[in-house]
Subunit: 266 residues, 2 copies
């Protein structure tokens, strides 16, 4: 079972009167992708358990098997302290309305503080009733194109689950991003490559007319410095250049000495 | 039709060899939710047009009808200046790796600056090949549960489309960055330069032994794609290469034809 034994905690995902087993299965998969496990189903149309849900869940069977069924929304959220209702568009309501990102951050804060929370998702056809929305502490709407707003419940669960995961990353790292870059080349290696290249270009009579040599050299240096090559990359580039140069000296048709190619130390 | 007449611009969504028409239809719906319209399909398994794709798209038929089919990834991204590859988990690559949120912000900045960009999504079964990832400027991975990473392509498109929409909201709040760079090269020009360079390296017997050719080519392409050369820079690099090649043909000691050097049009 995915991540068994880890103390993973997240918001409960509450599906209200879902109709299609396939959608329930896809919800389970969306949850598993972001390590959510607490699935609650209110009055599923086709009863429970549901073979279509199991089939569509594929690897997320652990979520389906742990799902709980309730007769109504009130029962389903009874043990929670904070409930968010998802709606296709803002309702005429006095409740706070947020985007999924703010909601994710808010839920993270509450759950980290030991306050169980959950998210309501409505029926495929007409979402949540006003009464059900009335049970929630806040409303989340998705920033969709008003001319084409048709997220299905599995997609809505996917976006909320994604924002839950993302809020954890934000919390863990702050907003800092650590680039995974290779060690950059020391300037001395880069310059050696540039000198080498300029020698080759001289041989190739690239710098013409001579009075433009300085400006042209500068341009080549700028291009190849801006690229911020790594140590390994500079080594590869020098290997390429060495082969080209050898061939220039050997002339057309002749074989050069056939030394092995690839990375070479200087 | 959704939003017809609006000057809506966003990243191209490029599906590489998608297998199931249903998935293509669901991709179209995900795009329409966030007002993306430029769908490009590389070698769809079941041909095109695809009735199953139309059926699954339901209200997003306008995206399906406007979709374009290409024989390969290179052709599909030829007119773009920045390409992001989505992968299930980080590859052993020197390309920058980001999350969908940073990528969305970055794409927003580029597209706002008039630089066309696109996002690659791989096959249902095994994603993108290393060669295809090699064509991209950066990699996006989704922050999924490592024990259960199974986003399908429609879900991956949904998350990227959502982040695209969200970046627009951020920009409205003044947080997205706008790069102040020289106009980047179109991919078609970069690929032409890389083809040219590989021809030169072949002549120089750089690719040795022959069985290492693919890996070595891949490495060279990765280095020179990561550098994100501008249009002017690619032109200069091609001019350099042309001189070197001419000299290789002329052989040592002889003067080549003495054509003026510097920037040349292709």
């Amino acid at each position: 079972m995915a991540g068994e034994g880890l103390e993973a905690v997240g918001p409960a995902i509450v599906l209200v009167e879902p109709q299609l087993g396939e959608n329930i299965g896809m919800v389970a998969r969306a949850m598993a992708n972001f390590d959510l496990r607490d699935l609650r189903i209110v009055a599923p149309r086709d009863g429970w358990p549901n073979e279509r849900a199991r089939a569509a869940a594929s690897g997320a069977i652990h979520v389906i098997d742990a799902a709980r069924v309730f007769a109504g929304v009130e029962e389903a959220v009874a043990d929670l302290t904070y409930v968010v209702a998802t709606t296709a568009r803002p309702r005429d309501s006095l409740k706070p309305v947020r985007g999924p990102d703010e909601a994710g951050t808010d839920l993270r804060g509450r759950i980290s503080a030991g306050q169980p929370a959950g998210i309501l998702f409505g029926r495929e056809r007409f979402g949540l009733s006003n009464e059900e929305v009335g049970l929630a502490d806040e409303i989340v709407t998705f920033p969709v194109n008003p001319a084409f707003a048709s997220l299905n419940i599995a997609q809505a669960v996917l976006l909320m689950s994604y924002e839950w995961m993302r809020s954890g990353e934000e919390m863990a790292k702050g907003r800092a991003h650590v680039p995974t870059e290779a060690p950059p080349a020391e300037k001395v290696d880069l310059y050696r490559f540039l000198d080498h290249l300029e020698g080759t270009l001289d041989t190739a009579q690239y710098f013409h007319p001579p009075e433009k040599r300085t400006a042209m050299t500068q341009k080549v240096r700028t291009i190849l410095t801006r690229a911020a090559f790594s140590e390994m990359e500079v080594r590869t580039l020098r290997g390429m250049l060495r082969h080209i140069e050898r061939r220039m000296k050997a002339g057309p048709g002749k074989r050069s000495n056939g030394a092995p190619a690839g990375d070479e130390t200087a």
